[in-house]
């Protein structure tokens, strides 16, 4: 008998291969009870895989799992749930057209009939909401919730199943700073109750802020496990990528030139009749990065889509867009994505998997996507696949896309590398104007550094960049000017030098900072 209580989780020699890919190799991990344990690692390092094994979603090829000191066979998620493990996946596992309540109850019903389960869950949700500040409308359809709220539903699902050990896979990737702060308050509350939390993130700031211990993975192996207090961001970053990483964007001051994009009075009413944009005016000059901050769902997506030439079906648009002084049509045949590209607009869409890539296409086919009409890719009436492949190989090398195999389907790349494929495609075209949404969502810090560098380089080459991100750090680091969007209009403009997180946070919540000061901090 030892005095120290058994760790909540202990993994011994876990290995897992997906066909030829060795995603986890002989991994050991110990997570003490009542702690928050961080796991970091590059894209594709095997973090999600490891956690999915712990949750019984995948079966390990080898290895042992101990929960509370006792070996348990976790053959499926049911077993994991019984062992007190809950997991919030990187890609949510929610049924989009179910209500919150139905999603929470699914798989944890009390009996054959639904009614009693639902009403019990309703009460339970109320209690959990009060206890942890996890408010969500139980009757809302999940597809109508913001990602932040969807995540809450995932957490509620785990808590509803009385999870003692909660795994969160990149939970903050989709959250605003305020939402992230809120999440961390919840996590601390859970920890204080004695629950154990495993947190996967790419953000070292978060690791430093909230975890007790941190483990680092690289290429399928566990390379280090340390106490957070005894390490620092630079060391972690180096452990992660195996080299020194620049944690701040180095950029020379902007030298803005002539206006490239002018938007005047842009309004949009969507198919349901909701006004999504309420008169947007903005201007971006050559050699300038304009950052748009804002909580997701305040019209940024619509703005990017309209500029990129694919507003959602049934939308009604009004206003004026000029590129290099020439007016661009808002809608109709001359206003599609292809026409926009021809006019010189590049676009990294917010949702790389649904829009930016064809997941079943190979990497090289994806690298021509949207530019498949470009003259250099044609040979007579046919497409010049050799030329496209050659072009793709170059981009794969220059962007260090891994694995450097152009014949692999896009879906076989990790999220970060998928993002690099899209960025490589759009940035290397050297467009007059680059629209870029959430450029580093879910991307590891090595890749973030690289992508940021490329955006700045594009700017320095005299191009205009419109950056939309929910990541305030990113906005502040990259932008030459910052606009904050709220409820379809521009709340305010700031220069990064003079802006503070609090100030921007207020604007993002729709509150003028002056008034917020007077009123005593709404938000």
């Amino acid at each position: 008998m030892t005095a120290t209580p058994a760790p909540a989780i202990e993994l011994r020699g876990i290995s897992k291969a997906f066909g030829p890919v060795q995603a986890n190799r002989d991994i050991d991990l110990v997570v003490p009870r009542g702690t928050i344990h961080g796991i970091i690692g590059e894209n594709g390092a095997g973090k999600s895989t490891l956690m999915s094994i712990l949750y019984g979603f995948y079966r390990p090829d080898a290895g042992e799992i101990l929960v509370g000191g006792k070996p348990v066979a976790i053959a499926d998620s049911q077993a994991a749930i019984r062992a007190g493990i809950g997991m919030v996946f990187q890609h949510f596992k929610l049924v989009q057209n179910f209500t919150v309540l139905e999603n929470v109850v699914l798989g944890a019903e009390d009996g054959r009939l639904l009614r009693p389960s639902l009403s019990r869950a309703r009460g339970e949700l109320k209690r959990l909401a009060a206890e942890y500040g996890l408010q969500v409308d139980p009757d809302a359809l999940v597809e109508e919730l913001s990602v932040g709220h969807q995540q809450r539903v995932e957490i509620l699902k785990a808590l509803y199943r009385r999870a003692d050990i909660l795994i969160l896979d990149e939970p903050t990737g989709v959250l605003t700073p305020a939402e992230a702060d809120h999440l961390f308050r919840i996590l601390r509350g859970l920890k204080d109750e004695g629950k154990t939390i495993i947190l996967i993130t790419h953000k070292l700031r978060e690791i430093m802020e909230i975890t007790d211990n941190v483990s680092v993975m690289r290429r399928g192996e566990m390379v280090a496990s340390v106490r957070t207090a005894e390490t620092g961001p630079a060391e972690l970053a180096e452990l992660m990528v195996g080299r020194k990483v620049l944690l701040r964007v180095d950029k020379p001051p902007a030298r803005p030139g002539a206006p490239v994009l002018e938007v005047r009075g842009l309004r949009m009413v969507d198919a349901e009749g909701v006004e999504r944009l309420r008169g947007i005016d903005l201007e971006i000059r050559a050699g300038e990065i304009l950052g748009i901050a804002g909580v997701a769902g305040n019209g940024q997506t619509q703005l990017l889509e309209i500029l990129g030439g694919f507003p959602e079906a049934g939308a009604r648009l009004q206003g004026e867009i000029r590129l290099g002084g020439r007016p661009l049509p808002l809608q109709g045949p001359g206003a599609d994505g292809r026409a926009r590209r021809r006019a010189g607009i590049g676009h990294v869409p917010e949702d790389r998997q649904a829009e930016g890539l064809i997941m079943d296409f190979t990497a090289w086919e994806n690298i021509a996507f949207g530019y498949h009409h470009a003259p250099e890719f044609q040979r007579g009436p046919l497409m010049d696949n050799a030329a496209i492949r050659a072009d793709a190989m170059g981009k794969i090398q220059r962007f260090d896309i891994r694995p450097p195999n152009p014949d692999l389907a896009a879906k076989s790349f990790s999220g970060g590398n998928q993002q690099k494929i899209v960025v490589a495609r759009e940035v290397e075209r050297n467009p007059e104007l680059l629209l870029i949404g959430q450029p580093t969502r879910g991307v590891d810090i090595g890749a973030i550094e690289f992508i940021h560098k490329r955006i700045v380089a594009l700017r320095d080459a005299g191009r205009a960049v419109l950056l939309v991100s929910v990541e305030l750090d990113e906005i502040m680091a990259l932008s030459d000017r910052i606009l904050v969007m709220f409820d379809g209009h521009i709340m305010g403009e700031r220069l990064p030098a003079e802006a503070t997180t609090g100030d921007l946070g207020c604007l993002m919540a729709g509150v003028e900072p002056a008034r917020a000061d007077a009123g005593g901090g709404a938000g």
Binding site: G309, R338, R340, F369, G370, H372, Q378
Partner: protein, 364 residues
């Protein structure tokens, strides 16, 4: 690196599946009290054992290539075209109208015109469902099914009331003029001094089918339109992002698909029957679905699958003609082939993968 060598997946998996399908078929034959060995002999002999058998096998193959390609092209655009049957029937109408409209001096002139008629009618018959899908969101599966029935009715009307020579019992058009008869493969072989497949229906259209495979391959994998079709079929939001118009792609893909299905009529109506009869398509439109899916939506695969079905059709026909085995046995064998090679392929693939993994480990 793949889990198992590509050649194994492309050749070994279907081959073993095929063997399994035939093994079960043998059991069925035994169960109805006939000899599987005898049946196999008759089938192989009748379909592949003589130039005569080949003449029929290739004729059926030609039909299935067209309908298979039709399903395939639509499938790449994410559209499930169940309307090959109707489109091919209307293609037949196109052929008949073209051939009967003018006194064609030579088949070489009549063929391109008739092919255009067939493609045009087939394409037009696909246009309405396509347009409704693109513009109104009417599900193409329903509309193409409905258009099969409507085509049957329209054809019936045309044959009985318009194209049928007065006094003829047969709801069929007049015979096509001699000059518009397409050369049979047997005649072409004779021209080369070879006695091959006398009195068999395989005709020049076979080469048209091969050309169609090639062209479809080029279209889908080498042209911008094909690229856009595939992109749209995989992800509509991404297609919109790239400026690919869903309406344009839906309509174009279905036009090509319908045209291909319609082109089948050149083979069966102009090449074989030399007049338009009711129900000339005989289910080839539906077999096209199986052919496309089994051919993994690739023209080469479609060609091979069409050949397989051509063999089954002809071999099965022989079986029913010259033995006491009912013709429905062939339908059962077809079903088993479709099932094993198309739907139960993983049953074979999974153990194979394990086998190759073991081999690799030993080798490494």
């Amino acid at each position: 690196m793949e889990r198992m060598p590509k050649w194994a997946d492309v050749i070994l998996t279907p081959l073993i599946s095929l063997v399994l399908a035939f093994a079960i078929s043998a059991l069925v034959i035994l169960a109805i009290g006939e000899s599987p060995a005898e049946a196999l002999k008759v089938m192989v002999q009748g379909a592949l054992g003589s130039s005569y058998g080949w003449g029929f096998t290739l004729y059926y193959t030609t039909n299935f290539v067209f309908t298979g390609l039709a399903v395939m092209v639509a499938y790449h655009a994410g559209l499930f075209n169940i309307g090959g049957e109707g489109q091919a029937a209307m293609g037949g109408l196109g052929v008949a109208l073209v051939v009967l409209a003018l006194p064609w001096p030579h088949w070489a002139l009549a063929l391109p015109a008739a092919a255009m008629g067939a493609a045009l009618f087939g394409a037009l018959w696909a246009l309405v469902p396509a347009w409704l899908q693109a513009r109104r969101g009417s599900h193409i599966v329903i509309t193409t099914i409905m258009f099969n029935f409507i085509a049957a009715a329209a054809l019936n009307y045309m044959l009985v009331n318009v194209l049928r020579p007065v006094g003829s019992m047969d709801p069929a058009s007049a015979r096509f003029p001699e000059a518009a008869h397409l050369p049979k493969l047997s005649e072409m072989a004779l021209g080369l001094g070879v006695e091959w497949g006398r009195n068999t229906p395989a005709n020049v259209t076979f080469f048209l089918a091969i050309a169609a495979c090639l062209l479809v391959w080029l279209l889908i994998w080498r042209t911008r339109l094909g690229y856009e079709i595939r992109a749209f079929g995989k992800s509509e939001p991404a297609a919109l992002y790239a400026g690919i118009s869903p309406v344009r792609i839906t309509v174009l893909a279905m036009l090509v698909s319908g045209a291909l299905a319609g082109l089948m009529a050149v083979n069966n109506v102009m090449g074989e029957a030399e007049r338009l009869v009711l129900n000339a398509v005989e289910g080839a439109g539906f077999i096209g679905i199986a052919v496309a899916l089994m051919g993994r939506n690739h023209p080469l695969g479609v060609l091979l699958a069409a050949l397989l079905f051509g063999f089954l059709y002809q071999g099965g026909g022989e079986l029913a003609l010259w033995t006491s085995i009912p013709r429905e046995l062939i339908v059962v064998i077809q079903a088993l082939v479709i099932l094993f090679t198309g739907a139960l392929d993983n049953m074979v693939r999974m153990p194979l993968e394990r086998l190759f993994a073991a081999l690799r480990r030993k080798g490494a």
